[in-house]
Symmetry: D2
């Protein structure tokens, strides 16, 4: 399968396909990912059992991947959501905030590791210019400063494209790439583990459409995007209290500019628990009442499988008992 045909340095709109033959009725079986083969995103998709043996559609950016889902070209798209290498948190978060009817149905972690590759025969001392995606480039800052202090940087649109371009006329001498790149391209590794942080990991989410929600597992998270009602002091405090008064812990809270003017933000939130948990559902109710715009992005199993820990006074029985109690207070005599 000619992977390199998927990797035109100039024509990102040209997407490639894993499976050579497919027909429109297969769309429910297509998975979109940031390609081409060898990307970290592909490694994340490889963790999805139901995607095994299905058609994997390689696309050029997050917008295209989510566009496939919205248009029905794919059943789901794998996108990087945090500490991203392939395009970053902000783009994905903003896309999820503005494209309607998307749902996160799974979370996956991929260790991030880089190698420096070059055309066969190149020596490290020959390297003057390096092809690299800007984010990957930034993550190898320390190694480059120590080993190639005088190098130049030629930005690339993806990690794989950076490497592939070496065989396609690029003036660069070397490229920063994922370790698996040499399985796909005739390149040699000049240095391994050149990333600054040996524990780096990228978090991916599998995004689908519709209202189906994966069943609760006890180790779930719920993703939400919410705007603050106004910029009065303390409104973020009020938002956070919607969770804390229900004993719901947040594993992520990020602000993103809404974009219409400086100083207006929406918040991207990952909460521990599942929408079918009473405390999470009640927090969602509180959030909906509080926020002028709230998007439920889904409840899904955590990639790390860590069980959600919460105070026993927020367990489901407490919520149902309270509802029964309230109902009893206003029941007519004799009931």
């Amino acid at each position: 399968m000619p992977e390199t045909a998927d990797q035109p340095p100039i024509a990102p709109d040209h997407a490639g396909d894993h499976a050579p033959a497919h027909t429109p009725q297969d769309h429910a079986e297509v998975y979109s990912f940031l390609g081409p083969s060898g990307t970290f995103t592909e490694a994340a998709l490889a963790q999805v059992p139901q995607a095994k043996g299905k058609h994997w559609r390689s696309v050029n950016n997050v917008g295209e991947a989510l566009g496939d889902v919205v248009a029905g070209r794919s059943v789901a798209a794998m996108i990087a959501i945090e500490n991203s290498i392939e395009g970053g948190v902000s783009v994905a978060q903003d896309a999820l905030a503005t494209i309607p009817d998307l749902r996160i149905v799974g979370e996956y972690l991929v260790p991030v590791n880089f190698v420096l590759v070059a055309r066969p025969g190149t020596r490290l001392s020959d390297v003057k210019v390096i092809n690299a995606h800007p984010v990957a480039y930034a993550q190898c800052h320390l190694w480059l400063d120590a080993n190639l202090p005088a190098h130049g940087h030629l930005p690339s649109s993806s990690n794989v494209a950076a490497a592939a371009s070496l065989l396609d006329g690029s003036p660069a001498d070397a490229a920063i790439a994922p370790p698996g790149i040499i399985d796909h391209h005739d390149l040699e590794v000049l240095a391994e583990n050149i990333g600054d942080n040996p524990n780096a990991v990228t978090r991916f989410v599998l995004v689908s459409r519709g209202t189906a929600i994966p069943a609760p597992t006890g180790a779930d998270k719920t993703s939400i995007i919410a705007e603050l009602p106004d910029d009065r002091p303390g409104s973020l405090l009020d938002l956070l209290e919607q969770f804390s008064t229900r004993g719901v812990n947040l594993s992520l809270i990020e602000s993103r500019p809404i974009g219409d003017s400086l100083g207006r933000y929406r918040f991207v939130i990952d909460a521990d628990g599942h929408i079918s948990d009473e405390r999470v559902a009640d927090a969602l109710l509180g959030l909906r009442r509080f926020s002028p715009a709230v998007i439920f992005l889904g409840s899904y199993p955590r990639a790390d499988g860590r069980h959600v820990d919460y105070d026993h006074r927020y367990r489901d029985e407490v919520f149902t008992e309270a509802r029964e109690w309230l109902k009893g207070l206003t029941a007519p005599p004799g009931e």
Copy 2:
């Protein structure tokens, strides 16, 4: 029915009945109040339209009044609940906290005003010893210091009893009493308006049994008694947040010792609004989940008729809309 059989043999607060004749089947029409005739409590009961023309049962203390309601001897009891003259907040609050199945169904305000009365012929300069209920005595402190600096105080069990005892062999020369006392007893007023605070008012509540709740009027309050879950720092903060996160204002919060050991308290709370208001019902749910012991004392019209003011983002429609939204999130496709 021998009402007087309920009276202690030496009863400074000699109780009586307004209506001379009644039968057991009339019990649903009996109202208990702290007597005897002339008390501020009687003045509060006189504000209740449905009590007009019914049997008013004079009792000696709050416990007896509520006991009448519990035992079915009365349909309701009028008791002082705040800034009380006739026995005080604490006794009433503790009784409501410990006697089950009571409901406050109305609130009434009575201006508090005192006169100094004496047997006919007594002059102010003759007064050496004053009969007075301790609370009333305390409220006339400034006038007494200025006008009778050398007097002695003989405590009495009620304001009316203080005055009545003057005609019953008391060694006192004068008594502090409510203004209406001279309608009931052959006494003369030596001084009027002797209370320290001309705006003093006592708040009374009418207490009934069962689960019927007065219809919302838009000017309602809801009374609750709740214990804190434990004495960890901040648990009172958590309790208050149950209201503030729903936009519910509190007009009263008082702590009362639970009584089993020092340092353990329950809180008596008056919240603006009616249990049929979504925001109040939701705060009650939150409170029930939070507190190991919460008593709903009722929702009823405010005595001052002041409309409840609250932020429009806590109006009923916001709550019902949020519930619909949450329901839609988890609805199967096609619904």
Copy 3:
């Protein structure tokens, strides 16, 4: 000095003096307490080492006791402050809130225990009317209901006066009194331990004048009275946050009506720690800025001797380090 001249002509709570002889220059050595001999307050004063062998001045009520201190007649006064038998929390709290320049310098606990006493020869079955201070009477409710269901109640101004009056012409047959009463009066005990709560205890404070503060012991509390800035929703939350954001736990918070109109309260607060603790001092600063009226009542050793437990991130060093840091931020270059 004619102490008896201070007594009202009809004084059920006949006050007296422990020491037969004293002169005005002894005033700094006089301690006032709610008398007469045999009261729980006297038992509290007996716990004060520095009061040993000094003149103890018996007075009739809290106001008189604090008046002695203000006027310089006493060096200190012992008053009941919580769960009180001898006159109650509210009176003491309100006095501390309104009389300036008072300081609490010590805290003492006295177990509360009652006996039923009568003139020699009286049998329990003879008892028809009982003399009792209303608060003591309320605390023996269960025993009385079970053993003397048909009794009448004659209120008294103090526990000791209730007993003493049996020998002074009272029509009552028995009295509720502290256990030590038979050391002072020719009475017999009809029943012991008649209080409803075997663990009942009254908390007393020793009140002095001036600005001297007992040295910190590590097991201290700090008493404050503060008004809320207005009745906007959440202002009590804001007050509590002054403590919680400095890691200061509260062992007591009580609301007391300010008295000028319904719905306005001041809060009586006991905080763990000493004003010389950085976190307590900082909370006091925050409280002073927040509250339109705040009264510092003192820092003093806790009666229970329990060491104050607090998060290590609020220890003194953290405060001084932060001040140094802030100072460094704005220091001119070179310093």
Copy 4:
């Protein structure tokens, strides 16, 4: 001056200079900015009065700009901090969080506006591949979709580089650039105002070294970066309370991964007011005590000149009065 010499597509380490001649002793007069000429960053630097007529050093990225300041090569560096076009918030925020001894001394706003440029003679219909910095490319998404739906994207390292490369052998047909680009390069404008948001603006800060703080103007902001003490629920709430309990409003709060592991964040905060404001200084003290790592980035005049509005109960006098009060509480008698 040969601007294009500053713009090697491959050698970003080669920086350019505005002033043809300078010597080491001029370093205090050098200002670094993300070049080359024509960038939005240069437009921001043009707003700085004290930079007029000084040497402007063009650099390739934020790290290089701040490196100049740290190394003493420049007196200050202008960097984009929010809603950035030239490289983004995250890079700048992370650099400020990790490079010690930097101070923000000014804030500047530059409207963001884009044109599509091409080599002379090119028509819009000829455009197949577009050179663009990824952020600028993302901001013109709507216009490109509508007018050039089939284009390809070639990423560039800066907006100016994108345009300059058209004259330097780039295979692209057009470039997205700032409007002033045609003053520096022989290019033609194919379309104006192609940005999606006509009100887009980028916020820049001028970063210097040392401890000098611009004098307060009444329209200031204070920038801080702080880590949370741990990931217990509610610790972000606690952080926010450090500001809200002192009446300090936040205009920005952003989380940034600390980078050592997923789920650990630091928060970038802009607070209204100046460190010389008592309420801001006190909030900084609280923050320092709370946070295991807090960086004060400076107090400086706001770009929009908007006066800081705050509740009068947080004015300086209230803080100084409270300190005097506290001091008086513990003063020895006679002082």
